[in-house]
Symmetry: C2
Subunit: 336 residues, 2 copies
């Protein structure tokens, strides 16, 4: 956008090159083949770089009615997971001449009157994590093309969805723990209403229902080390037999659980096997390293962007969930 001293416009370039503004637009828009001669085109390009011309994107957007910019709505950026999702989405976008702008639903900022008042400056579409669902009504109001990440394929009001195969990840975790001999499970669940967490709870319950002689308890905590610490500490202090396996909804919760285990004078994995989900850097920073489910966040972002491009072009988006894989490290072992 302009400074105090206004920037050169395409008309200024035209004047400098001795051509019409339309010719400038043609040359700089790379639509001049067969319409403008090579020498003239060169003159235009030289004049443009001479003046330091930058097209006014607001004007371009207005004219074209499209911006080649999409919005990625994510929950507060407190883990690197969504940073990687962004990276993947941005790469695919760049390959198609699109840009990606990030909208972290601002924690503590309080919902702006209209969360998109400014970011929506110019958007062709939106990719939104189901964890930032509160912003969704505003988006739907805008009727923008929408792709949901990790969201219920049924309940998404017809929006395209791109999902990680979380259920399969939980299945692998469960089978791993069962095969080690665990029978008494504790589920440390995130207390955020989001489809991605519902899937974890449902799959875990289903699998254990199929395994005779198992039992499952569930506790909830906000996704933070502090929250997980408190919830786990309370659960460990509860009367009755201690569970031998703790399945956490994500790695951060697992890190909090580690602290609770230490405080209780117990050890991971000897007294309690712990699993996470995400495979963030955190998973290998803690001791022992965490057995967790590896999610390919970058691929997730790439897939999300490709789906949005498909929607924009009226094509059907790719189907099928993205595969995940169990990474076995030192935080799980056979129960004593």
């Amino acid at each position: 956008m302009a400074r105090g001293s206004t920037r050169p416009t395409s008309r200024d370039v035209a004047q400098a090159a001795g051509v019409s503004q339309a010719a400038v637009s043609l040359v700089l828009g790379d639509k001049w083949r067969g319409r403008v001669s090579e020498p003239t085109a060169r003159r235009v390009r030289e004049a443009a770089s001479e003046l330091g011309y930058r097209p006014n994107l607001a004007a371009r957007n207005l004219r074209l009615g499209r911006t080649r910019t999409v919005l990625l709505v994510v929950p507060a950026l407190t883990t690197e997971f969504f940073a990687e999702v962004y990276t993947g989405a941005a790469r695919v976008a760049a390959e198609h001449g699109f840009g990606v702008v990030l909208y972290p639903s601002p924690e503590g900022v309080g919902p702006a009157r209209d969360p998109f008042a400014s970011a929506q400056a110019a958007l062709d579409g939106v990719i939104a994590s189901s964890m930032a669902a509160d912003a969704l009504t505003a988006i739907r109001g805008d009727q923008l093309p929408l792709v949901m990440l990790d969201s219920d394929p049924e309940g998404s009001l017809g929006a395209a969805t791109v999902n990680l195969d979380i259920a399969d990840g939980i299945r692998q975790v469960t089978e791993h723990l069962l095969s080690l001999g665990h029978r008494s499970f504790l589920h440390l669940a995130a207390d955020i209403p989001s489809w991605t967490f519902e899937v974890r709870a449902r799959e875990l319950a289903t699998r254990l229902a199929d395994a005779p002689g198992t039992e499952l308890r569930t506790i909830r905590a906000p996704i933070s080390i502090e929250g997980a610490l408190n919830a786990t500490e309370a659960a460990l202090a509860a009367p009755g037999p201690r569970p031998t396996a703790l399945v956490c909804d994500d790695d951060k919760l697992a890190a909090g659980a580690y602290k609770a285990v230490r405080r209780a004078g117990l050890r991971v994995p000897d007294d309690l096997s712990v699993t996470g989900l995400d495979d963030l850097g955190l998973a290998t920073a803690i001791d022992p390293e965490l057995t967790t489910v590896r999610l390919d966040a970058e691929a997730f972002g790439e897939r999300g962007m490709r789906a949005l491009l498909a929607v924009l072009e009226g094509r059907p988006p790719e189907k099928g969930d993205l595969p995940v894989s169990l990474v076995v490290r030192g935080s799980t072992t056979a129960p004593r």
Copy 2:
């Protein structure tokens, strides 16, 4: 931006309300006091909400030559530090009717032809971390008002700077370790060329030069757990007396160092005291909890945004560095 079936414009609203487009603009722009009657204003507002009218921001931006949107340029979002900076900046921005858009210099995406081709859709100014300096030339080319975060106040080409008092943090770390009795120091430095890291090295060297009988070695690593692990492992395996204190450029490096210490069969803090810098969630997730320097990332973002607003309004930005504080936890103790 518009869907296939075009969105209603202010003219459509005007027609529905039986007034002119100008009146709609006045009412919705809240500039109607004394120009439009209360009942008419109400009719306009009702028609607008009836039709689901949303102003076309591209048109507004073009008309006004300003967007009330600023760009926050950060290095790859691999820690929560910049997430908090964003939160602070976004809060202040919202209070002034501005929006903030994030531009994480995309790791592995490769510099777009013009890094701002799309994000710059409409920007009034830029806040940039000195750690993302590669993008800077492009910004300067745009001549946008600029505020630099953690950057050399001298060498910033006249751009306003907002700095954390990192030097004071390192001073506090050094005094803490000296008072515990440490004399042999190792500095695990980030191998990124950025002013904020130069300050750490300089201050540490200066302080130790003033303390008789001390020695200092420096090793470098990329900011990742893996990188820090490798560099520290090599240093610990080197011949000669082992240092007793390891000063890390940030918490993530410290987490990597922990792993190297464990692999060497040593323990923190008994065999080696370790300090970090940032006070991320990671600092309390690892065991023992990390003695580190607390940076108020949110305040940093707030200050940055306020500085940019000042520049935009032609006022001089606030001076003075933001204070930081040492947080002593379990990773430091007296040398044996």
